[in-house]
């Protein structure tokens, strides 16, 4: 049985005076200090980071971290675009399934604000296929193509998408580490400039710096006397990198496959989930995610979003993105998947402070690129 025994997050935002190294160090020393664990007790490190090579010109992050943390233990780096963090967690979980009595550090960090908007757009576009990149189709552009089909097919408007951002911003106000801690209205979203029609600035998660970490273990001694949750399942699935090659443009198959497998493995039902962190890189993505995870019928999401049924104050019993989602909490790419797990962990262990909702089972959904990879993890207490 694998457990999560701790979580740490830096602030997310435009952290001008912090380098990628500073972020890695803060997240790793921070969690060890909070849990009063020595680095010598860590058997392996799993690190998620997307842009180390492209932006920082730094690969071989394992050796880089070995230098920063002064260790010689195994370090595994995963890159899965925006699911780099989720895949780091997933890989750690797999490692713990096959190695007894181990304790691991899961780390994710991203430094995105040292370069211009145009350059980061280009860097992020490396998660899209070459065919998409070579026509100047940016990442927002790919999701915009999906949004167009969704809105057209099911008769929704940009207002339905905007409701997601309004909800997530309201949640983010309560998150002390969030990139944005302010309310936005439907009108604010509709008036914001277009990034890739019909997606606007306020439909899109921001460019953020940040780092997050988790300590996971299958060693009963380490779990004693700590606030812990059990990893009931963590499943991953893939799909084509180009949306042009997908079976449908209004759904993300990797989410469906990973989600179904996660529920099967965890042996629980969807109605058991109280809290979810889903991948809202763009407002449309959250709508598709909740549908593709099987909570809403395909095409129902727009009206469900408009009715704010997953808002903390809705009175309903399945709340989505209490952290503020990617939209308000921010999206330092490699950190996000770990933040999602961390937020569910905080909810389940009643450490979510003002964001707290009643929760005994939670789900984290992390997507890479336009859905080329999905990681769905279910935690229970």
């Amino acid at each position: 049985m694998n457990s999560i025994i701790g979580y740490y997050s830096t602030k997310f935002g435009e952290l001008w005076d912090k380098s990628l190294d500073d972020l890695f160090l803060e997240a790793s020393t921070g969690i060890l200090s909070d849990l009063q664990i020595e680095i010598q007790q860590i058997d392996a490190i799993f690190v998620g980071n997307m842009l180390g090579g492209v932006v920082e010109k730094q690969l071989l992050l394992s050796a880089h971290l070995s230098e920063l943390l002064e260790v010689n233990i195994p370090i595994y780096r995963t890159e899965a675009a925006c699911a780099s963090g989720g895949m780091a967690f997933h890989s750690a979980n797999e490692y713990l399934k096959s190695n007894a009595n181990k304790t691991v550090l899961v780390l994710g960090a991203e430094k995105m604000t040292d370069i211009t908007a145009s350059e980061i757009t280009q860097a992020l576009a490396t998660a899209a296929s070459h065919k998409e990149q070579s026509v100047g189709l940016t990442f927002p552009g790919v999701y915009a193509l999906m949004a167009q089909v969704y809105l057209d097919r099911y008769g929704y408007t940009e207002e339905h998408l905007a409701a997601i951002s309004v909800k997530n911003h309201a949640h983010g106000v309560l998150n002390e580490n969030a990139h944005f801690r302010r309310y936005v209205t439907i009108d604010n979203v509709l008036e914001s400039p277009y990034v890739a029609y019909p997606l606007k600035v306020l439909d899109s998660s921001p460019i953020s710096d940040g780092a997050t970490s988790l300590i996971m273990t299958n060693d009963p001694q380490m779990v004693k006397k700590r606030k812990s949750v059990t990893v009931l399942s963590s499943e991953t699935a893939t799909d084509t990198i180009s949306i042009a090659q997908r079976k449908r443009l209004d759904e993300i198959e990797s989410t469906k496959v990973a989600g179904n497998n996660a529920f099967k493995t965890a042996k629980i039902q969807r109605k058991d989930i109280d809290v979810m962190e889903v991948h809202d890189c763009f407002s449309i993505a959250e709508i598709l995610a909740v549908e593709d995870l099987g909570f809403w019928k395909k095409g129902q999401g727009g009206s469900q979003a408009q009715e704010m049924v997953t808002y903390r104050k809705s009175g309903n019993n399945m709340i989505v993105n209490t952290s503020g989602g990617l939209k308000a909490a921010g999206h330092p790419v490699g950190s996000t998947g770990i933040k999602q797990i961390g937020e569910v962990y905080l909810q389940l262990t009643r450490q979510a402070k003002e964001r707290q909702v009643p929760a005994t089972h939670g789900l984290a959904h992390n997507l890479g690129g336009s859905g080329g990879i999905a990681v769905v993890s279910i935690l229970g207490i």
Partner: protein
Amino acid sequence: MSQSPVKIWRKQKINRNLLGKSGTILSWTEINVAPPQYSSKTPYTVILVELEDASNIYGQFVDFEKSDRAIGKKVRTILRRNGDVGPEDVLEYTIKFVPLS
């Protein structure tokens, strides 16, 4: 900023086969924030097209009226310059789309 000449040369042989084709718009978007190679060209429209042979390809959409730019509209392929390159780089040409009149 630009592609390697070898990659341009290889792609040409593939792209050439897409000339003289027509298809239907599956989806479209207009890009306002672009990578450096296309920054001077914003806003530009990108479409996903289902060609007559049922394959799907992306391309920029040019020389259109607003009414041509909708899901279901018919388009055809043409040869145009692709983005900006540095003053000493090899030029890039690519397949783009115009409305099928």
